[in-house]
Amino acid sequence: MTTNDFLQIGALIAALIVLTPLLGRFCYSILTGRGAKVLRPFRILERLTYKICGIDADVEMGWKQYASALLLFNLGGFVVVYLLQMLQQFLPLNPQNLSAPSWHLAFNSAVSFVTNTNWQAYAGETTLSYLTQMVGLTVQNFVSAATGIAAMAALARGISRKTSGTLGNFWTDMTRSTIHILLPLAVIWTLILVGQGVVQNLEGYQSATTIEGKEQVLPMGLAASQIAIKQLGTNGGGYFNSNSTHPYENPTPISNWFEALAILMLPAALVYTFGLMVGSRKHAWVLYGVMMLMLIVLIGISAYAEFSNNSALGVAHLEGKETRFGIVNSIIWSNFTTVASNGSVNAMHSSLSPIAGGIAMFNIMLGEIIFGGVGAGMYGMILFVLLAVFLAGLMVGRTPEYFGKKIEALEMRWTTIPIILPSALILIGAAIACSTSAGLSSLANRGPHGLSEILYAFTSASGNNGSAFAGLNANTPFYNITLGLCMLLARFGVILPVLIVAGSLANKKSTPMTAGSFSTEGMTFGLILIATILIVGALTFFPVLALGPIIEHLLMLAGTTF
């Protein structure tokens, strides 16, 4: 590594830290309805939305109401995206005359975008019409992220409210997050990206005759507006097949810098927002510190692996990477995108060194809580916080409390279920795929890398990440259906328990902190939290990682190929 490499990593992380309190405060003012200084046109849009939909912004919802609104809204989104795909050949804005995908692919893609996963078993430029991408996918890029923000806000209210029983209003949380937070940022990012060369037009694909006289088709479309929100909303679904490696999707180091920043910007800011909502910025900074520390260590390990040569092939780790980004930007991205449930890639993860690829997978396995998805990362982290508080309570023999609220059997039940569920889906799903011909016939690589491909697919789906070891042919009925179910269960099987916990906490009295209370604002708590996360993650996944990336690393050092 050179000084320049450190500088590139440092600059992005510094920008992230500087933006956190600014953006975090802004999100707080939006979510609490205190208006902030939102631009007039956006305020008009918000009022208009309420009027058309018949939403009373002042109504408070209990957890059941909040959950049913959230579920129905997402169900509706699924139906729209599914139908748009199946009917795209009869609809306008389809200059390439693309026909409907298979039902299982359409199911998979619809689930994928509604759950903020953006796993893509299809190639954008050869499968979906401009209309489907624009009216179907771009919309879900916004509202699935807004769903995450809403659920986080509900949890924060559950923690901070006393004997109230209500968590806010899903409709307003959804509308405000979309219109005031995501939309203005997406407008700025679209303009930055177009300036760098990301396409934004409605022309048909252009046919060029190259200098050597070959035909080359240049794909077009409304890419910039979708890519902006794909990054900001931790969605990650590429407009083109090769995602942010594609020069029309990520043309320059500058576009790459802004896209990478956009991956973690909102998840990081929402940690601060959460702190403001529950009334403890100190607690938020402890969580932030835990996340940042883990992120930096993970980038460090990946960088060490990537800057060493591949001794089995006798070359540097440049396969699957773009010249303009180089190794350092590929590693920053592979970590940003996997800790954050974004899932976009600017280098092919399947071709990463075994350790860097393994780290990418491990980041997702930890539960997408190192900043994590927009909103989703924060509520996922709070589950681990509750677990850590509970463990600490057991160790000192006191009733565990979080912000003065007793953590009891009901909270622990609904905390452990969403922590275990994604892990179970990953391991059981991968086990089924490894033992059936339907699962194995999709493999592209042999040896331990084959296991990594399958494992990565189920990890990505069950962590709602969406990135891939893309050698695996995932567009088969087996993978479309199993991965689709993993995405659904992992998303709503976490959101629902989170809302249950939020509802239960909201009902409780808050006892004042005493000298005997366990503080969640210091280093001690940070360390216990890290230990909890690592023990759960490592114990669950070490055996299978040993059979995939770790053994592949050792075999690579020994010069073995498959």
Binding site: V139, T245, M348
Partner: protein
């Protein structure tokens, strides 16, 4: 039931805002502010579309600078990498073949790694500066350039290096298509 109706209406309103209004306004803004970029940074020659500044092309002729290998043959429909893993025998064989071919055409010199490894998009428009300089002698020979012209070509390659952005972001690189176009225009009269 009331919830269902609100949900349905809200989806439609959100679709109108984020799925129609937003991309369309962005379309208008992009076409006004950055028409060249928004339409694909296309390059025309004599009114004929020959490619895009941003999208790599295949070059196999000895008189051109060559790009990196591509998992999709620079066809772009769809784009993509090879996805071959770090212990792939297929990749190992590809590397051996490519290395041998480059050594054979470059007076026995070892090629830089990026010239024998495929990119993620399969459309990488760039090679490293070292990979461009590596090819100068071969291009000059294929074009029958004398030693004065060889110096000109070397200078052209050096001028084509795009440095770090803002002094430290990204990687120094050479755009292969642009370099080949300027090579052609520099030597078009003399090489014919």
């Amino acid at each position: 039931m009331k919830t269902l109706i609100i949900a349905a209406k809200l989806i439609l309103v959100m679709t109108a805002i984020t799925g129609v209004m937003y991309p369309m306004i962005m379309l208008g803004a992009a076409q006004t502010l950055f028409p060249h970029q928004a339409n694909g940074s296309l390059i025309y020659f004599d009114g004929r579309l020959i490619g895009s500044e941003l999208i790599g092309q295949e070059f196999t002729d000895l008189k051109y600078f060559w790009p990196r290998p591509s998992g999709v043959g620079y066809t772009s429909q769809p784009s993509g990498g090879t996805n071959l893993g770090p212990t792939s025998k297929v990749l190992s064989e590809q590397i051996a073949t490519r290395r041998a071919r480059l050594i054979e055409t470059h007076d026995g010199e070892q090629p830089p790694d990026n010239l024998i490894l495929a990119s993620g998009s399969g459309l990488d428009p760039h090679i490293s500066p070292a990979a461009a300089f590596y090819q100068v002698d071969r291009v000059a020979k294929a074009r029958g350039l004398d030693s004065g012209q060889l110096d000109l070509l070397q200078q052209l390659a050096e001028r084509s290096v795009e440095p770090y952005n803002f002094g430290f972001i990204g990687q120094p690189r050479v755009n292969v298509l642009k370099l080949n176009i300027s090579t052609d225009s520099l030597f078009s009269k003399r090489s014919k």
